[in-house]
Amino acid sequence: MARDLPAEDPLVRMQRDLKRALKKKPQDIKWGMVIDIAKCIGCHACTIACVAENKLPPGVVYRVVLEEDTGKYPYVWRRFTPRPCLHCQNPPCTKACPVTATWKTEQGAVIVDYNRCIGCRYCLVACPYAARTSDFGEWYTADTAELPGKLFGRKAAANGYEAHPATEYGKKWPERDHGSPVGNARKCHFCLHRLKVGMLPACTTSCIGRATIFGDRSDPQSLVYEMIGSPRVYVLKEDLGTRPSVYYLK
């Protein structure tokens, strides 16, 4: 029994894999993710971590956990399937964009240039996985009472946190309501800003069941490469030919 337990925390190994990957030439890296749904307990910690990391406003979400009920009472089950952007190797969303505001990087991550996106939302319609959301400019603090002259109230609450967008893609974005990313299509970007500084994506580090494995899928020594080779592996909507970089284990 004890031999079945991993010798080290998968996070430690993934961290080591990441360090090794970052030493390679950028074009030689191919980011990939494997999600073991047998290990996912549906805690939604990855969703929350992603929302916090990217300071996502209401209605914008990069990583949801799908919940399905199967079976018939009394033999019922609940299956959880975390769904980030699948970073397809044949992405329908990038082909749809009329102004090349979204594309696949050489490392395989599908990203959005917020300053180029015109907000037509065709990519949202084209994505088979509903992995893109549009930022309609909503605020969590919109219903907070306004108390003029006080240190607290709507404006103070907003200024304390959500008025200042996260540094997605390693860039400083203007104060919320003053341009992009409000009005843009938004999506998971594999936390490229974290990877750049040697940190794993927020969803990966927050997964308490270690169900999310991330790394360079072109590195035979990496955990993610090993997992992709598992006979349990499958991808969502394989018939569409999108060839996702996010794999699942049954």
Partner: protein, 415 residues
């Protein structure tokens, strides 16, 4: 004829007042859109396209009137319909104007449209749609101009006519219109008409293609959809031009053949639509059947059965079959087709978007923007009212102040 003119003037004034009221009322929605962006609208990330995109398709369909006239005139040689050329071309310009405004309002960053020029994605159908919208402008704006130029010059020379200096300016200060000028303008309009035929087919087909190429949208993903969109455009555009012909050039010789054509297109469109529904249901693919159920037995079943099929199809078909020689009945049938056509556009657009594309998505992350239920809210309707009113006002004032009707008379001789 006399009675018709009196009626026309009376209705024109009423319609102008109605359009101004529409602009005033709709300005609240415009204020909401311009001041707060998309915050006050009901569409979300699962149904990212709503009422405005449906109106965009509606307006673009209405542009097909001129295309139909061109086909009938130059392909089927019904020369009499050439009289409607300037009216049809002007209608195209007004409906394209409405389309451009409403789709710009639907964009998250409308001021970035220049991106189509500097970072185009030639692999995107949406890019090509924009190319063809611009092509339509480039064809129909000069077409319209060359058709009315003779009258512009004449009006500019008429010192007793109010605003004759404006007409002189519009005629580019030209004071004489020679036989050679007339021949040259006719050559130009004929060339643009021929050019509009392939461009028009691709333009109307490209609308359908935007939806049809998406293999994740089972209801849309069909080679038949572009054809259906071409027929839908011809139907709504043909009905509009017939109705306008009745209002502005109430000549039975014009209206009756148009009525026959509209009936033929209506029946063809219904046949294609029935085929799509039949094939969809027979495929038994969950995504398609769920979308079709939303159309036929969903909460808005009445939009399909009552608005589209009864008021917008069965009654017009009955009128067009029973009273083919009664211009008033033909115009009534066409009016019913136009006013109900938004239901057709909404029924193509929303049902596929309103079905979850992944199992389990409905049980996660609750937010009103992440739900498949979509009903346009007051702001969306008000913006639509504003755009329609602007189009109506432009059309009414344009037909008053420009030689739109006068220029058409005698045009068949030159075809």
């Amino acid at each position: 004829m006399f009675w018709n003119n009196i009626m026309k003037n009376r209705w024109e004034k009423k319609l102008i007042i109605l359009a101004i009221i529409g602009l005033v009322v709709g300005s609240w929605g415009m204020f909401q859109r311009l001041a707060y962006g998309h915050l006050g609208m009901n569409y979300g990330s699962f149904v990212p396209w709503g009422l405005w995109v449906a109106f965009d398709l509606f307006f673009l369909g209405l542009t097909a009137g001129a295309f139909l006239i061109t086909i009938l005139t130059y392909v089927f040689r019904i020369k009499l319909l050439a009289n409607l050329g300037p009216l049809a071309a002007f209608t195209v310009l007004v409906t394209l104007l409405c389309e451009v405004i409403i789709i710009s309002l639907d964009l998250g960053h409308p001021l970035r449209v220049y991106r189509f020029l500097i970072t185009p994605n030639v692999g995107s159908m949406l890019f090509w749609l924009v190319v063809f919208i611009i092509s339509m402008w480039l064809i129909y704006a000069p077409w319209f101009y060359f058709l009315i130029r003779e009258h512009l010059i004449a009006w500019g020379n008429d010192a007793t006519r109010p605003g004759h200096k404006v007409y002189r300016f519009l005629a580019l200060c030209k004071t004489a219109y020679t036989f050679q000028d007339r021949q040259r303008d006719h050559r130009r309009t004929r060339f643009l008409s021929y050019l509009s035929l392939p461009i028009g087919v691709i333009f109307f087909g490209a609308h359908g293609a935007i939806f049809a190429i998406l293999h994740n949208r089972p209801l849309w993903n069909s080679a038949m959809l572009p054809l259906i969109f071409i027929m839908a455009a011809l139907l709504s555009g043909g009905a509009l031009i017939t109705f306008l012909a009745y209002l502005y050039q109430p000549d039975d010789k014009l209206i009756h053949p148009l009525g026959h054509v509209v009936l033929l297109i209506l029946l063809t469109f219904l046949f294609l639509e029935a085929l799509q529904i039949f094939v969809g249901y027979q495929s038994k693919i969950t995504g398609i059947v769920t979308s079709l159920d939303l159309i036929t037995v969903g909460p808005y079943w009445w939009a399909f059965w009552v608005v589209h099929l009864v008021i917008g199809s069965a009654i017009p078909a009955f009128l067009l079959i029973r009273y083919p020689d009664n211009s008033k009945m033909v115009a009534t049938a066409c009016f019913l087709i136009i006013v109900t056509f938004l239901a057709v556009r909404l029924n193509y657009l929303i049902p596929d978007l309103a079905v979850y594309k992944l199992e389990g998505l409905q049980n996660t992350f609750f937010h009103r923007r992440l739900r498949p239920e979509y009903v346009p809210n007051l702001n969306e309707w008000l913006v639509s009212v504003w755009v329609i009113s602007l189009g109506l006002l432009t059309f009414l004032l344009g037909t008053r102040w420009l030689p739109v009707i006068q220029a058409g008379r005698g045009e068949e001789e030159h075809v």
